[in-house]
């Protein structure tokens, strides 16, 4: 044990230099990724100060992807009534709803919608529409809500008894039953005028499937009525004279030209295959979002400073090192929140991975299936998030600030262990090594549980919980790596005669040599 550690310090100076280089590369990529705008400003002012002698190339400024609660916008949740749709067709119908809503919202030009379909715990289908930066949510709601539901109904086998004119309508309604044909099968609608009396009509053209359905319906309903129902209202109920193949039909109601035109327009932008109702709505004004960003920024900076101050006051030199590490950590996490371009992702991950392999091999703490599994999972997810953006929400930012407080935990564990070894009379270099080595199982087990909780949170479904889970995961994963890898390398720079003679810097009374 002793020989090993001695060898580590005397002959591995070059290796130390190599790890330091990797740390610098990692820090620079993290800085470029997280604060490209500050880097560009810096390079501008540097060019100005040196009269264009030193010109650093500009970097791409990558924006954060902000959630609705931070940039302002509306989230609408609709519930789809799939009662009348066979189990097998439900998800395809919901895809239809998704497309229709997208088309309708896009036609208003108010915002780029993000639309998701998911299933709730008790099997309800929900459609979540997110409209970022929208001023008037009501307009969008109207647009989506007014989308017509077109249905074709045939008479039920029980013939309704029509007793009086006043109850006729009710009886009629009860007697209709749905056919398989809906607006989903509509290919196009056009405005036409009846050649006989010149009244406006709406001509429908079905797709292939719809044409067959329509042919079947008309065939079995010869001499019976077929109702064309829009949003629950029967707009016309013609009697079928003969089987109609070819997939075309005409709705002739008592339309005005304007009404018919509107109907055509609405049918063309899409008839919903499934009726939907608005069940939840969340609108945040942009100014409130901006205020939340300002507040979180302030809280983040103050939180960082408080933690840094505590670490330096309590742990002295190691504390200072952990704060440097924490700074790099914060930049790295902010960088990974953004969608980094390919070259950055590659440099970011490979420098981190190289550091990790290198330092862990040197410390000989890479043990067993738990560690291998943990790192495999961590690196796969880091790889995914490095290139894709994490949508930042208020809860997510809170998760990030919380992770700053949690990130130093690994360092505290290591430093306490180091102090203990020093107190037990071990020489400095060995104590430092032992501190890292012995703290590792605790760090691993502790972080694994938090990471597992994060995965559960990420699968929870709703945006708020997901965002918090993702940011906390990234925080814990990166802090676990950086606290060991970066702190241990930086500590080694300072391990030497000076520290051995000045134990105050380590917060202990005496160091044995």
């Amino acid at each position: 044990m002793k020989n090993q550690s001695k060898g580590l310090f005397s002959s591995k100076k070059a290796h130390l230099r190599f790890t330091l280089l990797l740390i610098v590369i990692f820090a620079i990529v993290s800085f470029l990724g997280s604060a490209g705008n500050y880097y560009n400003q810096l390079s501008d002012s540097l060019a100005k100060a040196t009269h264009n002698v030193v010109i650093l190339p500009h970097t791409k400024e990558i924006p954060f992807v902000l959630g609705l609660d931070l940039q302002g916008g509306t989230q609408l949740t609709y519930e789809a009534n799939v009662k009348n749709i066979p189990e097998a067709d439900r998800s395809s119908s919901l895809e239809g709803v998704r497309d229709v809503i997208e088309r309708r919202v896009n036609s208003t030009g108010v915002a780029e919608p993000v639309i998701q379909v998911n299933r709730s715990m008790n099997g309800d289908y929900r459609v979540i529409v997110e409209l970022a930066g929208i001023k008037d949510a009501n307009e969008a709601i109207k647009m989506i809500g007014e989308t017509p539901l077109l249905e074709f109904k045939e008479t039920a086998s029980v013939t309704p008894t029509v007793t009086g004119t006043s109850t006729a309508a009710i009886n009629l309604q009860q007697a209709w039953k749905n056919t398989e044909l809906t607006g989903k099968n509509l290919k196009s609608a056009t405005l036409k005028f009846n050649p006989n009396d010149g009244t406006p009509e709406v001509a429908l053209k079905f797709d292939e499937q719809g044409s067959t359905m329509f042919a079947n319906i008309t065939e079995r309903n010869v001499n019976k009525q077929v109702a064309i129902v829009l949003d629950g209202y029967t707009i016309s109920a013609p009697t079928v004279n003969e089987k109609i193949s070819g997939g075309e039909a005409v709705i002739s109601g008592k339309f005005t030209v304007a009404e018919a035109k509107l109907l055509v327009q609405r049918l063309n932008t899409g008839a919903l295959p499934v009726p939907i109702t608005l069940v939840a709505q969340q609108t945040v004004e942009a100014s409130l979002g901006q205020q939340s960003i300002d507040n979180s920024m302030k809280a983040g900076i103050v939180g960082f400073l408080l933690v840094a101050l505590f670490m330096i006051l309590y742990y002295r030199l190691p504390g200072l090192i952990s704060v440097i590490c924490l700074g790099i950590y914060a930049l790295a996490v902010l960088a990974i929140y953004k969608a980094m371009p390919w070259w950055m992702t590659v440099v970011f991950l490979s420098s981190l991975f190289a550091l990790f392999i290198y330092v862990f091999k040197e410390l000989k703490i890479f043990d067993g299936i738990l560690s291998v599994g943990l790192f495999l999972i961590v690196f796969i997810f880091l790889g995914y998030y490095a290139h894709t953006a994490v949508t930042l929400t208020l809860a997510g930012i809170t998760g990030f600030i919380l992770s700053i407080g949690m990130a130093v935990d690994a360092n505290i564990l290591i430093f306490e262990r180091m102090k203990e070894e020093l107190r037990a009379g071990k020489p400095l270099d060995i104590a430092v090594d032992e501190g890292f080595k012995r703290a590792w199982p605790s760090i691993r087990d502790g972080n694994t549980t938090t990471i597992l909780v994060c995965f559960v949170l990420m699968s929870f479904g709703t945006g708020l919980v997901k965002g918090f889970g993702a940011t906390l995961f990234l925080g814990v994963a990166i802090s676990m790596l950086s606290s060991i890898v970066i702190t241990s390398s930086l500590m080694k720079v300072f391990v030497g005669k000076f520290l051995a003679r000045h134990p105050w810097w380590l917060g202990v009374k005496k160091i044995n040599n």
């Binding site: 609660d69 949740t77 519930e79 709730s120 715990m121 008790n122 309800d124 929900r126 949510a137 009501n138 608005l278 069940v279 939840a280 709505q281 969340q282 609108t283 945040v284 004004e285 100014s287 409130l288 205020q291 507040n295 979180s296 809280a299 983040g300 103050v302 939180g303 408080l306 933690v307 505590f310 309590y314 208020l394 809860a395 809170t398 600030i401 919380l402 407080g405 949690m406 130093v408 935990d409 505290i412 564990l413 306490e416 012995r438 199982p441 605790s442 087990d445 502790g446 694994t448 549980t449 938090t450 597992l452 909780v453 559960v456 949170l457 709703t462 708020l464 919980v465 918090f468 906390l472």
Partner: protein, 301 residues
């Protein structure tokens, strides 16, 4: 070298914890948690009026014609008001906004800062989801602990470490929830999805803390010549400062959010702070004392 006699006073710690847990259960049973919008369904509307903040009576007056149920009006900040009501339809929402716009004080203009409406079905869904997620997390944690501690068998078998860690978790969750029941009763603090997220995070954190103390016991046991109780006490002392310091840094970062983060995350952060504090307390003063009791009990048999 510090050497606190934590195990010696184990009865005291467990009595304190037991009393806290019982008080929390009583609070939960008598008052319960004040379920917020996320779980009950309903609407929340925040508006800002150009003419300043209207009084509650003025707002009530203006909404007389609209007819909303269980209306709660709450002035917030220096110039805004928050309205809560039961109806969630878009028509009601627009009717309320229209009525407010007609107020004298809103003549110069009114901004709708925030509107949230959650239908009852969504609320019920969130509720059942929260429960299943909570159970899933507990299950995963028990599995992980028994896996991580499978090498320890003497004198206490590994699954009992897992059991104790889970008991400590229940302790933390029950007390956190109990404190929120009290806060809900006296200060109208509501419980929404963020509260569930906070509890889940506390679960992760608390078990992390407990594992670190147990890890030390696990490490010390084979080479120790002292009694089990003494070894546990020694391990506690070795991890004591680390536990305090880590809790302190986490609480410091959360404190910053509590003070500067704005009202929207206040309750969330508060739940996290309470939970983290309980988690730290339980890993030092509940989990290890219980471990010693289990060992004692085993010997007596």
């Amino acid at each position: 070298m510090i050497n606190y006699q934590i195990i010696k006073y184990r009865k005291l710690w467990l009595i304190i914890s037991g009393a806290m847990v019982i008080l929390s259960i009583v609070a939960l049973l008598t008052w319960g948690l004040r379920a917020g919008l996320d779980f009950t369904g309903g609407s929340l509307l925040e508006v800002k009026m150009a003419g300043g903040q209207p009084t509650v009576a003025q707002v009530q007056d203006s909404l007389k014609g609209v007819g909303v149920n269980s209306l709660v009006i709450q002035p917030t900040g220096s110039d805004s008001i928050i309205l809560r009501f039961q109806e969630t339809s878009q028509e009601k929402h627009l009717a309320v906004v229209d009525a407010l716009k007609k107020m004298e004080i809103a003549k110069g203009g009114m901004t709708e800062i925030r509107f949230e409406s959650i239908g009852t079905s969504v609320g019920a869904d969130l509720r059942s989801k929260s429960f299943s997620v909570m159970s899933l997390v507990l299950l995963i944690i028990i599995l992980y602990i028994s896996l991580a501690f499978n090498k320890v068998s003497k004198p206490v078998v590994s699954w009992k470490y897992g059991l104790i860690a889970v008991l400590a978790l229940f302790h933390d969750i029950i007390i956190t929830a109990g404190i929120f029941a009290i806060l809900g009763h006296y200060f109208a603090v509501e419980v929404n999805t963020p509260f569930v997220v906070a509890l889940l995070t506390v679960l992760g954190y608390s078990v992390h803390d407990t594992i670190i103390v147990f890890d030390r016991t696990r490490e010390n046991l084979p080479k120790s010549h002292d009694s089990f109780a003494e070894t546990v006490n020694h391990s506690l002392n070795q991890t004591f400062i680390r536990s305090i310091n880590t809790t302190l840094t986490v609480l410091l970062s959360l404190l910053a959010v509590l003070v500067f983060g704005g009202t929207s995350v206040r309750d969330f952060v508060l739940a996290l702070m309470v939970g983290v504090f309980c988690g730290a307390y339980s890993s030092l003063f509940v989990a290890s004392p219980l471990l010693v009791y289990i060992e004692q009990w085993q010997r007596r048999k």
